[in-house]
Point group: C2
Chain length 645, copies 2
């Protein structure tokens, strides 16, 4: 049996309120009403048992109204996309299999029906999608095409003779792959395929296709497969689906952006196939935002466990000291964990802002395409950044707990394994960062799909010295901070936020403008693949610099909104650590671009050392502030007391 | 069913011969005689099934004489420690659970008997340790003490009245923890404890203690526990062992370095308790060398899978090109995988050298303590470096294969999960790197345990400009290379090995000397913990710089020994990539220390880009050269064709 769940300190509570921000009440409801029994998986479960547990718990949470926020009010949701992101983040503090199972069912399958379907689809399918009586698949990725969705091979062909659509996988690589709910539980799939009507290609559309009967057997023409054991997410039944000329009624096409009328004619309000595709995909941006936030939640859980362990575990006697030293007192240990705690805060504030931005765009209902593309860009960049960070941080946490961290009962290993694939699904991180760079070059004026790299290069308007970084809500605050820092001699600026902001902005501006120059030069080359390929690493750099700056500004905004003086002062220090650790991580770039001298670079490292020492005494409160319920850190039946001794 | 195992290309074969070096015949025997059925685990096995499979396969391989090299010739071994390392590395290309199960049984339990025991122990226990009829534990780590072995709490007390030793766990934290074979299979344990004879403390010694009867039940006074599910190594039954005044006969103490004679008196040839402890520990250095090599083998397997996939998988159509582009043609993909292939070669050559060094020290039988400490230092540094690299590289490989990489049948995920703990066991990496730094400061003149950090600081003789880097076998070659580079203008040096060596040496020399200065200053401070703690990150830097240089020299030596002109030219390019990628990774340090200008730093990055492009066409042959049998990349019953499509 475990010791009683410790009470959160007042500072921990106040930090939590600040980091929860607009979602505090919603997140607090999870903490008050959801127990470890509801959301923490027993590590001993085998694959089939894990699948059973996961399905049962998703049904339960749906029944208790914890995962329905994203659905329209008519079917019992709140119609609030931002809240559905916050729900996803809370669930992810419990178990990521559970989170992804619900994400597949409610976010992707349900979300496709909500966003791409019309009233009949909503009325007919949403109630059973919500209560999971109709387990569904989101059948987009194929064996042959993952990142390049526009090239999928599945066809959805209008058959005028029967007035039905025929869904088909014309080649082995056209089989849908890695699809959640496909191996076992799914009864219906939202199938992405190339729509053909009367011999005309209309681009990728989505049809609802029943795949299994009541007994769970494949329906005629459908062949499902089981991927079996995976690197993680054992509770999610990923598998393949292949179609052999499966007929579905005309109504089964999700026709919000284009469909075949009763007269057998294709109609769409969007003329360009390309624009239609990216409009449809754009409505699914929530999934990407959820995945970034969910990965960050898992990292927060890992940090909570590792910091708590480091504050209790002792090893080696220090010369001249009687007692053995706490791990957290070692500089190397502070260096491993505390900058990541600072990043957890930074990404948390930025994620809140992103969720609110999602809500604004959803409310705007397509009236502001530039703002929508800005949202998609930020969602892509944040997803890539947060999932990369979560993977690295969970590994760091495992190692920081030594052998104890490797014992699954101690709460880190399942999160580590489950978070792995977050770097790949909902968009491969390397591909996403390139999309971000492309959007930055084009000032969100065109959709990602509008042009290839050569076209992007030709269209980019950026010139050295001309880039205006897009405003965030904190812009006026930030200009004051920069002006204040500019007045100080360099030696006194190291903890001045304005200096940090200037350096972040310089890096973004310079990498984006430098990329534009390179791309323009590349566009003139004969071998345009080779020339634009050579720009790839610069694209990643520019995208990362952009997201770093956006995150810093969100942190500044989050601090401005904190009304507790003590907590605000603490957050300022955490933000110092985020900013300086990020500058330190990029100091090679700054030195190469002579943004500062070698001496200054060493001073940044020394200041990070100093800051982790200053925050060491607040480390326990800081991880409480990350908001993971203490009772969820381990499964209630864990065989060993957590993180012995 | 799989496609037929592809034939290795002549270049791949030649690279393999070169990288296998002195162990080619031994490693080739594994490739010729061992099948996937022998060494590749079915990913679908649950924990208990995995334990069954692992035990059965270890018994089989022992019977076929694949894991016995390290044992004395009298009991059927070859007495060759270097060969036992090579065997370990080959087994690790199959499955790490299997490798660690054999490592616990033959390397640690058997190794303790070989190295710390005397003739009676050898004759009595080695035959059954080898054929696994006596499954054994290496019971060193305790719940309360892992890295700090000298502080373990278990006691081994001489009871003169019964002429027996009493083994006891006086506190809950004294329980042995994370012990392989402890949860299920073990029948006897080599127990580390504080030896007390007639009220005098003699330091840590090892006693053999039976722990289970024939039926597998705990013997009286022994309590074993099962850690259950772990982050990996599911085939190894790790658990706890606690002792309640368990009596064992006098002979059961492994008494090579100290024991109680028939007259009840403690005798040892080594006077100092501290020296005795580090001498005993030193004889166990092979385990650390194996762990580094085994992790590197797993990374080689991951790289083989990921590079092969990247050479077959296509995604996105390039502007102006008809076909979709192979992943391996993208610069970002080349950047992710090819520097790691280069590191695989670098670490492989360095690991061969380390194994030979182990053999020399073993043959010297204690006659050269300075050389022995140099070996221990290098083993510690290589273990930390190779296991860190393997963890990072396996993760990179998983991500580079996208969703396919996450499907366990595709061969990466089990290796990734199993390799994780290699960063912790056989010495936590952060602790090991500090030991390396300490040894460098003391020029191997004292053992690690001889003094604390303050003492180390006072004893260090190093001053800026006085450090002489210890010679490696390649020293004379290297001096010629450096001299040749010195004659060239800087712009022409970028692929000159001498320039690389100079930069690697500068970094080592400067970090070690800088550390010495800091340590001396710290030793004068009143709060010596705080002062030496502030040096910790510098210790890690110095240790890494040292190992990087040692590895580069080993690579140079490996190339010098290659007698195939074509292969040598290819290896030169791979070594260029290793050297320049390492310089690039440390360019912030070089810029801070004004070893080169910003322009030069950017040129290094550009040259790495160029090199990965040049090696891209050789990537398939290069991974063949890593020596992983093609038939071992996936389990024979894998449910899906590997890495579809």
């Amino acid at each position: 049996m475990h010791a009683k769940t410790p009470t959160t300190t007042p500072t921990g509570e106040a930090l939590r309120r600040s980091l929860d921000g607009p979602f505090h009440a919603l997140k607090q409801r999870w903490r008050d009403e959801v127990t470890a029994d509801d959301v923490v998986r027993d590590t001993a479960l085998g694959m089939e048992e894990a699948r059973d547990w996961t399905l049962a718990k998703v049904v339960e949470l749906a029944g208790r109204n914890f995962v329905t926020a994203g659905f329209p009010t008519e079917v019992g949701g709140s119609g609030n996309a931002a809240e559905s992101v916050a729900n996803f983040e809370m669930m992810a503090m419990g178990d990521l299999s559970l989170t992804i199972k619900s994400g597949v069912q409610h976010g992707l399958f349900g979300g496709a029906i909500v966003n791409l379907g019309t009233q009949w689809h909503h009325e007919t399918f949403l109630p059973s999608a919500i209560d999971v009586s109709l387990p569904g698949c989101f059948a987009m990725t194929e064996l042959g095409h993952g990142s390049d969705v526009q090239s999928i091979e599945t066809t959805i062909t209008w058959d005028a003779t029967t007035a039905e659509f025929v869904v088909d996988s014309p080649t082995p690589t056209a089989a849908k792959a890695y699809i959640g709910n496909a191996a076992r539980d799914g009864r219906m799939a939202a199938v992405f395929g190339q729509l053909w009507v009367d011999g005309a290609h209309q681009g990728v559309h989505v049809a609802l296709v029943p795949i299994r009967d009541e007994q769970g057997d494949d329906l005629p023409g459908v062949t499902t497969g089981d991927h079996g054991h995976k690197g993680g997410l054992l509770g999610v039944d990923n598998g393949t689906i292949a179609f052999d000329h499966v007929h579905v009624p005309r109504e089964m096409l999700l026709n919000r952006y284009g469909g075949v009328d009763a007269d057998g004619v294709y109609r769409s309000d969007i003329k360009s196939k390309n624009a239609r595709f990216f409009t449809m995909l754009g409505t699914l941006v929530r999934g990407r935002i959820c995945v970034g936030g969910g990965a960050a939640s898992a990292a927060r859980k890992g940090l909570t466990i590792a910091v708590d362990y480091a504050n209790r575990r002792r090893q080696f006697r220090a010369p001249g000291l009687g007692e053995e030293v706490h791990l957290m007192d070692y500089l190397t240990h502070q260096r491993r964990l505390l900058p990541e705690v600072a990043r957890a805060y930074a990404y948390g504030f930025a994620q809140n802002e992103l969720a609110l931005q999602l809500q604004r765009i959803t409310d705007a209902a397509g009236s502001d395409p530039i703002a929508a593309r800005e949202l998609e860009t930020r969602a892509a960049g944040m997803k890539a950044t947060l999932t990369r960070w979560a993977n690295d941080t969970l590994q760091t946490c495992r190692e920081a707990c030594g052998g104890a961290g490797f014992m699954s009962d101690n709460g880190i290993t399942l999160a580590r394994q489950d978070a792995d694939i977050f770097a790949t699904f909902e968009g491969d991180n390397t591909v996403l960062l390139q999309l971000v760079a492309k959007a930055l070059l084009l000032d969100y004026k065109s959709t990602w799909g509008d042009m290839d790299l050569r076209g992007t290069a030709q269209k980019t308007a950026k010139l050295i010295g001309t880039t205006v970084l897009e405003r965030t809500t904190a812009r006026s605050v930030i200009e004051r901070l920069v002006a204040a820092a500019d007045l100080k001699p360099e030696a006194e600026r190291i903890r001045m936020r304005g200096w940090h902001v200037s350096l972040f902005e310089f890096r973004e501006q310079h990498t984006v403008e430098g990329l534009a120059q390179r791309m323009r030069a590349a566009a003139k080359e004969k071998d345009s693949f080779a020339a634009t390929n050579a720009c790839q690493t610069h694209m990643l750099e520019a995208a990362r610099a952009h997201i770093d700056r956006v995150v810093l500004e969100a942190f500044i905004e989050g601090i401005a909104e904190c009304d507790d003086d003590y907590v605000r002062a603490l957050l300022v220090k955490v933000c110092d650590l985020y900013a300086l650790a990020t500058i330190e991580a990029n100091r090679a770039w700054y030195l190469e671009h002579e943004a500062f001298e070698p001496r200054r670079s060493k001073a940044v490292t020394a200041e990070v050392d100093k800051l982790v020492g200053e925050l060491r005494g607040r480390s326990q409160e800081l991880v409480e502030g990350l908001g993971v319920p203490a009772g969820w850190l381990h499964h209630p039946t864990a065989a060993v007391p957590p993180l012995l001794p």
